[in-house]
């Protein structure tokens, strides 16, 4: 079974961009468009890693991050936070809320993939 990665972003093109890389790397992708959907999907699907944008309507990424870290079922899932506005959402704030890493948009897709690989390394190797 390929590893499931939950991608949370309200920008369709960003979802498509990340999907392109994840599919090529052999991961399965679950999409969510806002923080609320993200928390529901994380509980339901138990992904290996969550990649989440900080700025979204209907529950922003940081609020969703805090909820994921409070919920026992999702607490251990590593969360990679993305933001286009590092002044509004600080790295310290995200990391103190439990984010594994904080990437600033435009991020390097290769770097994102490296980060995801880092967190899925101990798990079974995905099937390409």
């Amino acid at each position: 079974m390929p590893h499931k990665i939950l991608i949370v972003d309200d920008e369709p093109f960003m979802l498509r961009l990340i999907q392109h890389h994840l599919e090529h790397a052999g991961y399965e992708m679950i999409k969510a468009r806002n923080g609320r959907e993200a928390v529901e999907a994380a509980v339901r699907e138990n992904p290996c890693v969550v990649v989440m944008d900080a700025m979204m309507p209907n529950m922003d990424g940081l609020t969703a991050l805090r909820q994921l870290k409070q919920e026992p079922a999702t607490r251990a899932i590593p969360v990679i936070m993305l933001t286009a506005n590092p002044h509004k959402y600080s790295r310290e704030e995200a990391e103190s809320s439990g984010a594994a890493i904080f990437l600033t948009k435009p991020f390097s897709p290769t770097q994102l993939l490296d980060e995801i690989r880092k967190h899925t390394l101990d798990l079974e190797v995905p099937q390409v």
Binding site: R16, L17, H20, T104, P106
Partner: protein, 594 residues
């Protein structure tokens, strides 16, 4: 109407430009119809496209602004195997494209065109920009004209379209990804630029990232040093790639290394196991079983360098997106290199300017502001350098109340080297007080002391020393290849020259100098000068000359004057003679007046 058919990456395209005039529409539509007919569009679809295009053009003309009427309307028709896209770019103020278009009421005169277009075409998009708008209308082509559609055929068609869309989206995601990758690197490395890392470290980090992103294994970055025609390795991914410099010749001959050919031809050169590098190519020697590309990068017409990126582990060729990333990284790096070089040059210029200012201050301090005086005599000196610092100087050493040593010298050359020797000479002359009353012996000694240093840098110094003894009323002068001393007496209207023989300092190690002794007449004027005065030229190219100088000195002897007045007068004379011409050589003189 101008017309240009061409092959587009997504099909065959026709581009037209027509004036903003309804009479131009019909011929343009016929051209579009003719083009689409050639592409095998069936009659029904031809008529549909013709109608939609006519409506779009009429709208573009009818609603054009006054300013927009002066600009052409551009039509683009792209025909691929699966669909036709019609584009109309206009210069109307534009409008908000309605989400839903209903047939306008019978009393309304507007909106029918849009309704018709929407009804006729499969999809439409409208892009509204400042001063220009683009309407894009798409119609899917029926794969076989006249075929009766069946449910299974429809399903097949839909699946095909879906696959096609997926492919397009995939391609776009790939392209977007490469842009995002490049953009991300540019942001990241622009921030890095603020930190004090060297250009070499910066390049190495950037290109290491490039290897990771493009799944490549090695790189070689060669740069052309300023004012040179060699490609020199600036940094490479491994020590073995620190290859010898490559000369960039004027001509491109066969057998040149790929990096040189790429630089000369201003184009990428690809290599792999099939299309390998030339036998003598240094890259082939160190990376024999590689594939990769050499990308030259320029700033305007100036070659900055070449970037070669290669793979040895995986021999999967670079994709188009990876190639784009290589190009973007190289171009970004080129801008950083040009900026860094420019900044270094500016810093260097500032340092040189500062050093020159310091040197100038030192030299000024060597020329005494107030010269020592001897009862009954006045002294004044003038020194103007062609550059910020120069090789001319004068000096006056007070030996007693009745005796002085006057010195004037001209170090061959200008600028800092000349100024340095001038300072050394001045110090040496002052360091040998026992010889001040024997100018020829003093010159001999100084010549021996300075000979090695001067001859090593191929420089020489002309100098004149004058020992003045007011008590004995005599002067003794010796010259090292210097201009003659001028001696005049108030009321006599005659000028005498004293020009003892002697080679300039630094020409021969042991060369004789002779003293010339003369009586120091009452009310005398002694003028020592450098050839910068006599060789000064006016705007017509005439020399100031020794005669003119002697004439000036002669006409001053009509009545007594102070040395300072004479100095100002001669300086003014020189300025007047040279008018606006720039100083070619240092100009220095020393006047003693009784």
């Amino acid at each position: 109407m101008s017309e240009s058919p061409c092959k587009s990456s997504r099909g065959v395209a026709l581009r037209l430009a027509l004036a903003c005039d309804l009479f131009e529409v019909r011929p343009a539509i016929l051209a579009v119809r003719g083009f689409l007919a050639e592409q095998g569009l069936p009659d029904a679809e031809l008529t549909t496209c013709e109608l939609a295009m006519a409506e779009a053009c009429n709208n573009a003309i009818n609603y054009a602004s006054e300013e927009g009427r002066a600009q052409p309307i551009e039509i683009e028709v792209i025909s691929s195997l699966t669909r036709v896209e019609l584009r109309v770019n206009d210069h109307t103020p534009g409008f908000d494209w309605p989400g839903r278009i209903n047939l306008p009421g019978s009393d309304s005169e507007r909106g029918r065109g849009l309704y018709l277009i929407r009804s006729l075409m499969d999809s439409t998009e409208y892009f509204r920009c400042a001063g220009e708008n683009s309407l894009r209308m798409r119609k899917h082509r029926s794969s076989q004209a006249g075929r009766v559609p069946s449910p299974s055929a429809n399903l097949e068609e839909l699946s095909r379209r879906l696959a096609e869309s997926e492919q397009i989206i995939g391609d776009m995601a790939e392209e977007l990804s490469s842009c995002y990758e490049s953009l991300s690197a540019i942001f990241r490395y622009s921030a890095e630029q603020g930190k004090a890392i060297s250009l070499e470290d910066f390049s190495r980090q950037l290109l290491s990232d490039l290897l990771r992103i493009t799944a490549a294994d090695w790189f070689v970055l060669r740069l052309v040093p300023k004012d040179q025609s060699w490609l020199v390795v600036f940094t490479a991914s491994e020590p073995g790639l620190d290859l010898e410099p490559l000369e960039v010749p004027h001509r491109v001959d066969s057998g040149l290394p790929a990096e040189v050919r790429s630089a000369k031809q201003r184009q990428d050169i690809w290599f792999d196991q099939q299309k390998s590098l030339e036998a003598g190519d240094p890259l082939r020697r160190v990376k024999p079983d590689s594939l990769g590309l050499v990308h030259p990068f320029y700033f305007g017409d100036t070659l900055i360098g070449t970037l070669t990126v290669g793979k040895t582990i995986s021999l999967v060729p670079f994709s188009a997106a990876q190639t784009n990333v290589v190009h973007t990284f190289a171009d970004f790096l080129a801008i950083q290199i040009v900026n860094t070089r420019f900044q270094e040059e500016q810093v260097n210029n500032l340092l040189v300017a500062r050093d020159l200012q310091i040197a100038k201050n030192i030299q000024r301090s060597l020329l005494m502001k107030t010269l020592p005086q001897m009862p009954g005599f006045g002294l004044a000196g003038y020194c103007e350098s062609a550059r910020q610092v120069g090789g001319d100087f004068y000096d006056v050493v007070k030996l007693s109340d009745q005796a002085l040593l006057l010195v004037i010298a001209d170090v061959m050359g200008k600028g800092i080297p000349a100024a340095m020797f001038a300072a050394i000479l001045r110090s040496l002359l002052r360091a040998l007080p026992e010889l001040t009353n024997q100018p020829s012996e003093l010159l001999s000694r100084v010549n021996r002391l300075l000979f090695d240093e001067l001859s090593e840098v191929d420089m020489f110094i002309t100098a004149q020393l004058v020992y003045v003894d007011a008590g004995k009323r005599l002067l003794v002068t010796a010259s090292a290849g210097h201009c003659p001393l001028l001696l005049a007496v108030v009321g006599e209207r005659a000028v005498r020259t004293l020009s003892p023989e002697g080679m300039p300092l630094g020409i021969l190690p042991d060369t004789p100098f002779t003293d010339e002794t003369a009586e120091l007449p009452r009310n005398c004027r002694v003028l020592l000068y450098t050839d910068g005065l006599t060789e000064a030229r006016n705007a017509q190219g005439e020399l100031f000359g020794q005669e003119r100088l002697m004439e000036w000195l002669k006409q001053t002897t009509t009545h007594p004057r102070k040395a300072e007045e004479l100095k100002d007068e001669l300086a003014a004379e020189l300025v007047k003679f040279q008018s606006n011409t720039s100083l070619k050589d240092d100009q220095t003189f020393l006047i003693m007046a009784e």
